[in-house]
């Protein structure tokens, strides 16, 4: 953890979220999917941390555990100095107001029978923001304008909007409760590139204007490079590398990070990617390999990796969970 850890807006410590695998008539637990298996991370106020990894690495479960949409077995989620995981639901509410989320699929996260005005005002009403309905309507208009939608359309339903417009509505809804931190779970991944650019610019403008912090959960490294201040790379439930965005992209330490970056299609017409170094599929998080979890796909594997699990070794510029980074 950095020396300024005490100033972090969000600090996750030792987060462990396992899901039981149940079988048979009595639904006995026969195993565990170790979706999140000891994750530490920090988000500083007004900054963007990208949590990146491939499907099944647990990045989405980290976000859902922080929001208490799923129950974490272990760990602490400090938000502004309070452990959210240990708060009774009633005391959690003021913090939920300050902690909002935007998901990948704006179609699925908007109630199709709810007019846009209601969708955006819902959070304000439940947190008692904006006094009366007339005031809330004024605020909804302001929010829609802020996300570049026509406030005159607030009486419409979600299906009357395009995918990009629906994502703007979700952003407006998240902003309605005046949050400090917005968790963006693949928030721009499903959008066409011209629309994606619009939403990314919008998120950046909002961050600057409103002093928002983002936890940006995504598989899209091209967006991460552009948008994030810091990056945490996840593999099979654990963080394998952490550091400032530029350092991660210019000098990746962990072989998985290197493989991940090399796998991103090149957009430089003068250069095509070399043949991939990371082969095979991600193993099931129900049966992570012994030793280093990446050892069976690692181009630099050696004997020790098969027996022993590496720690997340800190360095001056971050941390890497690889024996090759030990004592560097």
């Amino acid at each position: 953890m950095s020396a300024t850890g005490g100033d972090a807006l969000l600090r996750v410590e030792g987060l462990r979220t396992w899901f039981p695998i149940r079988r048979g008539l009595f639904q006995r637990t026969v195993g565990w999917v170790r979706a999140v298996d000891g994750v530490d991370l920090e988000v500083q106020p007004t900054r963007t941390l990208a949590l990146v990894g491939e499907s099944g690495c647990g990045k989405t479960t980290v976000g859902r555990s922080i929001l208490r949409l799923v129950k974490a077995q272990e760990g602490r989620v400090w938000f502004d100095g309070v452990d959210l995981l240990r708060l009774p639901p009633r005391e959690l509410r003021p913090y939920r107001r300050r902690l909002q989320v935007v998901f990948q699929d704006p179609g699925a996260s908007l109630d199709p029978r709810m007019r846009i005005r209601e969708a955006v005002a819902e959070g304000m009403r439940s947190f008692g923001i904006g006094g009366d309905e007339a005031e809330r309507t004024r605020r909804v208009a302001g929010l829609l304008e802020r996300v570049q939608l026509d406030p005159d359309q607030m009486g419409r339903y979600p299906h009357e909007f395009s995918g990009g417009q629906r994502q703007r509505i979700c952003v407006a809804r998240a902003l309605a409760t005046q949050p400090d931190l917005v968790i963006c779970d693949e928030a721009v991944s499903a959008l066409d590139v011209s629309i994606q650019a619009q939403i990314i610019n919008l998120l950046r403008d909002l961050q600057r204007e409103l002093g928002l912090a983002f936890l940006f959960i995504t598989h899209d490294l091209r967006v991460v490079r552009y948008l994030a201040d810091e990056v945490a790379v996840m593999y099979l439930g654990q963080i394998v590398e952490r550091g400032a965005t530029r350092r991660i992209f210019e000098d990746p330490q962990h072989p998985y990070t290197r493989g991940l970056l090399a796998a991103v299609p090149s957009v430089d017409p003068q250069r095509r990617s070399p043949p991939p170094q990371v082969l095979g599929d991600v193993p099931s998080p129900a049966r992570p390999p012994p030793g280093c979890r990446f050892h069976n796909r690692c181009p630099e594997v050696f004997e020790r990796c098969r027996r022993e699990a590496p720690a997340l070794y800190p360095s001056a510029t971050g941390a890497s969970r690889c024996f090759l980074s030990e004592g560097r």
Partner: protein, 325 residues
């Protein structure tokens, strides 16, 4: 030598509120033997419908209205249903974004490839099974003997896509149409599948028609690129022509709006607005309503092609004016 695929003036329509709406509106394409052509565009531009049209697989109520489609020099629009079935798979195969589009969930994957082989060739089951095993090896399926008897749900997304590729290769087609073949896959798996397509294309000297929204994948795989917007092709050229020397304002806008090409901290260039739905496509140049270079003729006249070099063309009034054409 005739091209593997030649498309001229293809129009494919779907019913709109009143009249039928052409979602592919007069496109020309040519794919040479062993060539990789990428057709790139955003959702709704008509790129997938264009590809399905060339296999005569446009789902109802879609309909090919006009044009000529020739596979290896032979017109396919007049072909009978059984003749067309032979073209599919034998001369042209197609793989999709979602491998389950091509796989039967309740049949073992090996049997599905065996069936595909026996559909095109009179060979014994045993011989077809041996060929399947060989194909599974070739497309990089680990433990291929065991995987022959697996059901699709027992395989990861990447492995399913490899099975689909094996099936598409069953008859060694002259052209493989790959519609967003890696979009649903993780980035390390995507890199493996792209490498596989690259290797197979070389080894089988197969032409590939890649359909994608991702300019990075275009750069990785394509020899030539055609950019599609709102049912029409707006620019085409070699990979370098289009990615390093784009002329059409839409292509340039797409390239500039990519986070991968932007400098962190600098604002991304945006293309304002959204792609209009097909029944609201403007007259004249369809990009005119979103174009920063639009001027008088753009809203009324459909732009013709401007030759920029032997291999590079753009359909844009502003480009034509600049070139003094």
């Amino acid at each position: 030598m005739s091209p593997v695929l030649e498309v001229q003036g293809l129009v494919t329509s779907f019913p709109g509120d009143g009249d039928r709406v052409p979602v592919v509106d007069g496109i020309d394409l040519r794919i040479g033997s062993g060539e990789v052509l990428a057709l790139v565009g955003e959702s709704g531009c008509g790129k997938s419908v264009a590809a399905l049209s060339c296999l005569r697989l446009v789902p109802r109520p879609g309909r090919i209205e006009a044009g000529r489609i020739a596979v290896d020099g032979r017109d396919i629009l007049p072909l009978s249903v059984p003749e067309m079935r032979r073209v599919r798979g034998h001369e042209v195969s197609m793989i999709f974004q979602e491998p389950m589009t091509s796989l039967n969930p309740v049949t073992r994957v090996g049997d599905q490839v065996v069936e595909a082989i026996r559909l095109h060739e009179r060979v014994s089951r045993a011989a077809a099974r041996a060929r399947t095993l060989e194909l599974f090896r070739r497309v990089g399926i680990p433990d291929p003997e065991e995987r022959l008897d697996a059901f699709p749900h027992q395989l990861s997304g990447g492995l399913k896509q490899r099975v689909v590729i094996a099936m598409a290769l069953a008859a060694v087609p002259k052209l493989l149409i790959a519609d967003e073949p890696t979009t649903a896959l993780d980035v390390t798996i995507q890199a493996q599948i792209l490498q596989l397509l690259r290797d197979l294309q070389r080894e089988y000297r197969m032409a590939v028609w890649l359909i994608t929204h991702d300019l990075g994948i275009v750069n990785e795989l394509a020899d030539r690129v055609a950019v599609m917007y709102a049912g029409r092709i707006v620019e085409e050229g070699s990979r370098l022509d289009v990615l390093a020397g784009a002329a059409h304002p839409y292509t340039r806008g797409l390239l500039r709006s990519m986070p991968a090409r932007a400098t962190p901290g600098e604002r991304l260039a945006e293309i304002p607005g959204v792609v209009p739905p097909p029944d609201e496509w403007p007259a004249g140049c369809r990009f005119a309503t979103r174009c920063e270079r639009a001027f008088e003729p753009c809203s009324s006249e459909v732009p013709g092609p401007t030759d920029l070099s032997g291999s590079h063309r753009a359909w844009c009034h502003a480009v034509a004016r600049e070139r003094g054409a």
